[in-house]
């Protein structure tokens, strides 16, 4: 469904992604971990073309992401994205945040879009906040709205870019619970996170990235019990034993 084939990306002279080969199948939950600055977010952001790749090929559903002929707006309908800092629209209510794209991009009527929005707000557990503004919500609530906003487009893929890193520790659970539920429903998910518990429990596959390279790719049990690469062993020992 998502195929990276010999993908390289440079920021000027800086080689951010090095020869990435990665295939993510439908219904799979892939968790990308690695030290900061290793290119995890860049990798994720290439999938919906928030970042452009420099070399190689990257396709989503067989459609090239970097090809100039590709209608990127159309491709992005299929790919929901959740950001570290939520990026809700502060001048719009929760409900307006969610119905915006379905109305403008999918052409739903307001009543259709509202009905769908409320369904997803219900799902993430904050239907009572539909008329609130984002600034009136806690971080965890805002992130759940952001997830509902992504889901309202009925995407085939959801991308999560460190969705819990900006949250108070108390709020992390509520967001992870929503993501777990989503994973169990069979959503294709690519998640950049430092939440090892989540990765271990939910991921079908762990991708370990260091200095722009995929060093290790394994199922969670294997990766956590018996990491092959020395860098991965070091990384795990640092974050698990503190």
């Amino acid at each position: 469904m998502i195929v990276f084939d010999k993908v390289n990306k440079y920021y000027g002279d800086f080689h951010v992604l090095k020869n990435i080969n990665l295939t993510i199948n439908k219904g799979e939950v892939v968790v990308v971990i690695g030290p900061s600055g290793s290119g995890k977010s860049t990798l994720l952001r290439c999938i919906n073309h928030l970042e452009a790749i420099t070399e190689g090929s990257l396709t989503v559903n067989g459609i090239s992401v970097s090809d100039k002929k590709t209608n990127i707006n159309k491709l992005r309908r299929e790919i929901g994205m959740v950001f570290q800092h939520f990026h809700l629209y502060p001048h719009k209510t929760v409900l307006q945040n969610i119905i915006l794209a379905p109305m403008k991009v999918l052409g739903q009527t307001e009543s259709q879009a509202k009905e769908i929005a409320l369904k997803y707000l219900e799902k993430v557990g904050i239907a009572d906040k539909a008329q609130s503004y984002p600034s009136q919500l806690s971080g965890g609530q805002q992130q759940r709205v952001a997830i509902a906003r992504g889901l309202a487009m009925s995407p085939e893929i959801m991308l999560f870019d460190e969705p819990t890193s900006a949250l108070d520790p108390e709020m992390i659970g509520e967001v992870l619970d929503v993501m777990k539920a989503l994973a169990h429903e069979g959503m294709t998910m690519v998640v950049v996170t430092h939440e090892m518990g989540f990765a271990r429990e939910v991921a079908d596959r762990i991708v370990f990235l260091d200095q722009g390279q995929i060093l290790e790719e394994a199922i969670p049990a294997e990766f956590y019990e018996n990491p092959k690469e020395e860098r991965a062993q070091l990384f795990l020992s640092r974050i698990l034993n503190h």
Partner: protein, 211 residues
């Protein structure tokens, strides 16, 4: 100060006042729309457009309004008031574009990313997500530009625009009561600019509250 100047020439003052209001309001609306357009040109993700926008701003911001006014008047042969309003629009647009551009740049990049990643086009994201937020930031500097615009409209007088300043020139030339006339005209300008100032700070407060 003798108010007979005012009462004896009331019709001329009022005529000039009306012309000044019409020229100012027309130029204000036009330069707001054009300014927003030029601002978007300057930041659109397409280099030739950026250059076009920058050229406009740097050119018209850096030459005197008087020269633009004379140029439009002499080259296009419009009536004074028409030429004056066009010149005022051309000039003010450059400043408004800069104010709006600064406002747009103050909105976190994540807003555009969130909007684009949901499938909105660049122009939809700009119109629906970015500009409504930017406008709040931009209200105070825009207020300054609007007040400048009203005062700058007095330059229309040099091409017989029939505005307040032009009428004042006529009255003072006829009566030789130069100081009295211009003091009165200053008051007429205050009648326009002070409510404008108050309106801007009212808007500023109201929009701040809605956040």
């Amino acid at each position: 100060m003798n108010f007979s100047i005012l009462t004896n020439n009331m019709d001329m003052f009022l005529q000039g006042f009306k012309v000044t209001i019409i020229a100012s309001v027309t130029a204000l609306i036009a330069s707001l729309l054009l300014g927003a357009f030029i601002a978007v040109l300057r930041i659109a993700p397409y280099k030739p457009l950026n250059r076009l926008g920058t050229t406009y701003v740097e050119f018209f911001r850096n030459i005197p309004l008087l020269i633009i006014t004379l140029f439009v008047y002499l080259v296009f042969n419009f009536k004074g008031i028409t030429a004056g309003t066009i010149a005022l629009t051309i000039y003010t647009t450059a400043f408004i574009a800069e104010a709006i551009r600064a406002g747009i740049l103050s909105i976190p990049e994540g807003q555009m990313e969130a909007a684009r990643s949901s499938g909105l086009t660049y122009s939809q994201a700009m119109r629906i997500v970015i500009l409504p937020q930017a406008i709040k930031v931009v209200i105070p500097p825009l207020g300054n530009q609007f007040i400048n615009l009203v005062k700058n409209s007095s330059l229309v007088a040099v091409i017989a625009g029939g505005d307040l300043m032009y009428q004042a020139d006529l009255i003072s030339a006829r009566t030789f009561r130069v100081m009295d006339t211009y003091i009165l005209v200053a008051m007429f300008y205050l009648v326009l600019t002070i409510p404008l100032s108050l309106g801007v700070s009212y808007l500023e407060k109201r929009l701040a509250k809605s956040n």
